[in-house]
């Protein structure tokens, strides 16, 4: 059995070399098929040998191979190997995971993650050790009879109530964290959050920043044209000073409210470093408010990676280009942010101005946003 595993695994390095060849690679395929058949023959041979060994034992008047013992022993080996494997995975692959949260609420999420991990891992190791330990310890024996134990109300009460209490703690902890994270309104006395409009379509993100008035102009999908990609409604004054941007710049330590929308299908704004994710849904604007706390430059030094950038990923299947729908996010100081902002071009381009001028003659209907009452 183990030999088979090794053989299959041994192919891993070989795989790259044979399949690299650009020409039609029939030899490669038949090589693997033959290899597999060879393994099958090997397995069959080992099986026959075991059978013969088993029979000779029986002929000699012995009991034959005691498979219950063999399996019990393999269970123990699996337990030990599995524990080591889990430990290895936790240390090696665990260190490859996301760096510390770069936002205020992200730190809270990470704390809760740590608590949950500790609690669940205790249960994980305990139950798996008991499971495979019992298998080894209580493997079949002719001499013994199992212990008749249909139930024990005390212990059953204990292991119903204890998980219930632990989960209640997690629920309460989680519920309030969740409510505070999802609250996207500005509290009294708080500096107003910067509104950033992010709109997803196949397969890119569009950004819009408010101008001096700090307000984003309203949108209507019916106004969408080639020049007015987002369908901004220029009947409202607040639309005129809006800015369009290629990169999402955010000032550090200031609250940002993302106004998330989608034009065609559902997308999802996912910024794992900030622990931010919310779907972009056509017809249903969503909002996520958060405060970045670590600038891109700081993160680069912390990770020792001069090329590091925060990114927005798309995290809801949206079509063929789903796997490459990214937008760079730069967290900068307030001063850098203001300089950057002053260099951004207005959303109202000359082309759009022209188009609107011609369109002004036609009476334009404003259609109220179609939001479902149950959702917002």
């Amino acid at each position: 059995m183990l030999m088979g595993t090794n053989l299959v695994n041994a192919q891993t390095p070989a795989a790259g070399t044979t399949e690299d060849a650009p020409q039609v690679d029939w030899t490669g395929v038949s090589y693997y098929v033959l290899l597999f058949l060879l393994i099958c023959v090997g397995v069959a041979v080992v099986g026959k040998i075991l059978k013969i060994y088993d029979l000779t034992l029986k002929i000699q008047g012995k009991k034959g191979l005691r498979w219950n013992n063999v399996m019990g022993f393999i269970c123990l080996v699996f337990l030990l190997a599995g524990l080591y494997g889990a430990y290895w995975s936790f240390t090696v692959q665990g260190s490859m995971t996301l760096p510390e949260a770069a936002s205020i609420h992200g730190v809270k999420i990470d704390e809760m993650f740590t608590v949950t991990t500790i609690l669940t891992m205790i249960v994980f190791f305990l139950t798996q050790i008991l499971l495979f330990g019992f298998l080894f310890k209580y493997r079949h024996s002719e001499k013994r009879r199992a212990h008749f134990l249909p139930h024990n109300n005390t212990i059953e009460k204990i292991w119903t109530i204890v998980p219930a209490i632990v989960l209640t703690i997690l629920v309460v902890f989680g519920f309030f964290t969740w409510q505070s994270i999802m609250d996207n309104t500005d509290a009294k006395g708080e500096v107003a959050a910067i509104n950033v409009d992010i709109t997803g379509h196949q397969f890119a993100w569009e950004l819009r920043y408010p101008g001096k008035d700090g307000k984003l102009g309203p949108k209507d999908f019916k106004l969408t044209t080639a020049a007015n990609k987002l369908g901004v409604d220029f009947k409202k004054k607040s639309s005129f000073d809006d800015l369009s941007a290629d990169t999402m710049y955010l000032p550090v330590n200031r609250a940002v409210r993302l106004n998330i929308q989608a034009q065609d299908v559902i997308h999802s704004v996912y910024m794992p470093h900030f622990r931010v994710q919310l779907n972009a849904v056509p017809g249903l604007p969503t909002f996520f408010k958060f405060t970045p706390t670590i600038t891109t430059a700081q993160m680069r030094t912390r990770l020792d990676d001069p090329k590091f950038d925060y990114l927005v990923y798309c995290n809801k299947i949206c079509g063929g280009g789903h796997y490459n729908m990214q937008k760079v996010v730069r967290v900068v100081t307030e001063a850098e942010y203001q300089t950057w902002l002053s260099h951004q071009k207005p959303y109202l381009t000359d082309g759009l101005r022209k188009e609107l001028h011609f369109a002004a003659a036609e009476p334009q209907q404003t259609v109220s946003q179609n939001r479902l009452a149950l959702n917002n």
Binding site: F78, G85, L98, L149, P282, T286, Y313, N370, L374, N375
Partner: protein, 629 residues
């Protein structure tokens, strides 16, 4: 107290009748349009295994793409044509593979293949009925399932390819044929297939429920039913209540796609073109989908739980620990599973307050799951464990259920879900807790009841090989995925090459792919074992596992009506294993207490005062005799 035990002595008249009936059977009525529950179970099983192999091959195809995103494989072009131009799977076809893999595995293998097989096989045999309540509907259920399978697979033969919006087919992606090629004819076929599938599932479910409620043999009250029956019964109830909602959702989607309605669509500009849809909500579909979708995962796992409970009890030679608690936790899961669907939608834009509520209900459902796990462990404790392949798979099921279930506590927590939603962490979670666990439950069932189905025994050694390769393979595949998820790697990505931060996972992807290939090849051991054993396996005895349940009192040869003569009467619960004082380490359900005076316990007569009196008399005479000695 009755001492009359019914044995297998057939009444002459009955035998004759059965014989006559047998002669009238043609090949078509026996093997194709069969109305015998045992044959229908086999049909479900073999179709399910076939679909599982197909879905597994699909997964290997997309795993190859993930492992070698930069390499070309001309063979793929030979096999897949324009779906894999220039030796590489296209981005859209990659999504098709993911979608159809998920759909087939969840619905066709783990719902129909699992419930269909074991509900059909076990319900009549374990409760003591001659057949299902409605054999004709049962036959229809299989054939609708078969048609649904054919339609689903036929979508590989349409020009634009099969549905590719993910198995959850969220509109607008699935509703707008122009949004991606797979949303064209492929999606239409998906929807048609699904409607037929649900019809099949409902006909099956209604049958299972009515059979369990109405056709139990004498003495088989609900609290004497094996846990398999409890699980399959509750699963059927879940299916009956949940599947129609999916049909509702699917029909509205068909309207949106074909008749210009806007149930799920609003404010859409596709490729710069304004679409005429207004007023709908994509979230509505998600509510309808997950109202089925979440009970669905319990539809998948509960039969596996029931099977594992039964197999573990038989092979530990111990009663299942806390039988009542096991049943109540199944009932608890059934009820709660209807009010947790929103945890799939924490970050979809659903009202955050609802998210909080769903988080509470979700974490409550972890309690019955925990109880079940601890009870399984207690069942093993001080057992006398026989490692049949079925037992190993049942244990594997428990191990996966723990590993995958614990990560559910992370994902059920709305705050943690923000960063984990739709990442590989989710992929790892559900592949362990419902994918691997349920498939292991199913395999445990196949190995355990193979003698009942085919009258032959499967080869144990090949079963061992199959188990260990699959078990280790599944852990090697899914364990590393947790860490990919914790690094924020999204699922359903065609390649990890475009993001600098994901490139460090490329080698691990290669490793996972080879582990998956190993696990997939291990299934050859199973398929070979399965087919060869049907024709050339060792003949099984009537009760090969020394089990208590009723199906092992039926003769090995399949007969219409299951038992020759009268159906046996049931006197006791199914878990009297290793009872102190009993001669053997098992006492079948058909053995009355009057025959086992030496092993009876006061507990056995809780609702039977006359029996308790008998027992007291018996013990007092025993004591008196001892004193005399």
């Amino acid at each position: 107290m009755s001492t009359l035990a019914v044995h297998d002595h057939g009444v002459a008249h009955h035998d004759e009748h059965g014989h006559e009936h047998h002669h009238n059977e043609t090949f078509v009525s026996k093997y194709i349009f069969s109305m015998d529950h045992k044959m229908i179970a086999k049909q479900f099983l073999i179709t399910g295994i076939t679909m599982a192999v197909i879905a597994m091959i699909l997964s290997i195809l997309f795993r190859i793409q993930l492992a070698y995103p930069d390499k070309t494989f001309p063979l793929l072009t030979t096999l897949l044509g324009h779906f894999a131009p220039n030796g590489r799977i296209s981005t859209e076809f990659y999504l098709s593979l993911v979608t159809i893999h998920g759909t087939i595995m969840v619905f066709f293998v783990l719902t129909a293949g699992l419930s269909g097989t074991f509900a059909n096989l076990l319900i009549p045999l374990q409760i003591g009925a001659r057949d299902m309540a409605s054999p004709f509907m049962n036959m229809l259920s299989y054939w609708f399932f078969f048609l649904a399978s054919v339609v689903m697979l036929s979508s590989f033969f349409v020009q634009k390819g099969p549905a590719s919006g993910g198995w959850t087919i969220y509109p607008p992606l699935s509703a707008l044929p122009k949004a991606m090629p797979g949303s064209g004819e492929g999606m239409t076929l998906w929807l048609i297939s699904m409607v037929m599938f649900v019809a099949s599932s409902l006909m099956g479910g209604i049958n299972y429920v009515s059979t369990v409620l109405n056709m139990r043999t004498k003495g088989m009250d609900l609290w004497k039913m094996p846990l398999t029956i409890w699980a399959l019964f509750l699963t059927a109830i879940l299916g009956i209540l949940a599947f129609p909602v999916l049909v509702a959702g699917v029909v509205l989607l068909i309207f949106d796609r074909s008749f210009g309605t806007s149930f799920y669509l609003s404010d859409i500009v596709l490729n710069g073109v304004q679409q005429p849809y207004e007023g709908g909500s994509p979230i509505l579909f998600q509510h309808l989908f997950w109202f089925l979708g979440h009970p669905e995962v319990y539809i998948v796992i509960m039969p596996a739980m029931g099977i594992s409970s039964e197999v573990m009890s038989v092979n530990s030679r111990k009663p299942i620990f806390g039988y009542h608690a096991m049943v109540y936790s199944l009932i608890g899961i059934t009820v709660l599973s209807f009010i947790v669907w929103g945890h799939h939608m924490f970050v979809t834009g659903m009202n955050p307050f609802l998210g909080g509520v769903f988080m509470i209900t979700t974490l409550i459902i972890a309690v019955p799951s925990a109880v079940k796990t601890f009870n399984w462990l207690a069942t093993l404790w001080r057992g006398n464990i026989r490692f049949t392949p079925a037992m190993l798979f049942a244990i594997g099921m428990v191990s996966f259920f723990i590993s995958g279930g614990l990560t559910g506590i992370f994902l059920g927590n709305a705050a943690l879900d923000i960063n984990l939603h739709d990442t590989y962490f989710v992929v790892a979670h559900f592949h362990l807790v419902m994918g691997s666990a349920a498939i292991f439950g199913m395999l445990a069932g196949v190995y355990h009841w193979f003698p009942k189905m085919f009258g032959k025994l499967m080869d144990e050694k090949l079963g061992y090989l199959h188990f260990w390769l699959t078990f280790i393979g599944a852990y090697l595949v899914f364990f590393p995925m947790h860490f990919m998820g914790l690094d924020g790697v999204p699922r359903r990505y065609y390649a990890f090459t475009e993001f600098a931060s994901m490139q460090k996972w490329l080698t691990i992807n290669t490793f996972i792919t080879w582990a998956a290939i190993m696990a997939a090849l291990a299934q050859v051991a199973f398929i070979y074992n399965f087919i060869v054993s049907i024709f050339a396996g060792k003949k099984s005895t009537q009760n090969p596992w020394e089990s208590n349940t009723l199906e092992w009192t039926a003769p090995v040869e399949h007969i219409h009506g299951n038992w020759p003569g009268e159906i046996p009467t049931v006197y006791r619960w199914p878990y009297d294993y290793s009872k102190p004082g009993a001669e053997e380490d098992f006492i079948p359900q058909t053995v009355p207490f009057s025959q086992t005076m030496s092993s009876n316990l006061p507990h056995d007569f809780e609702d039977n005062p006359a029996g308790l009196e008998e027992l007291n008399k018996y013990t007092s005479t025993l004591k008196a005799e001892e004193k005399v000695k």
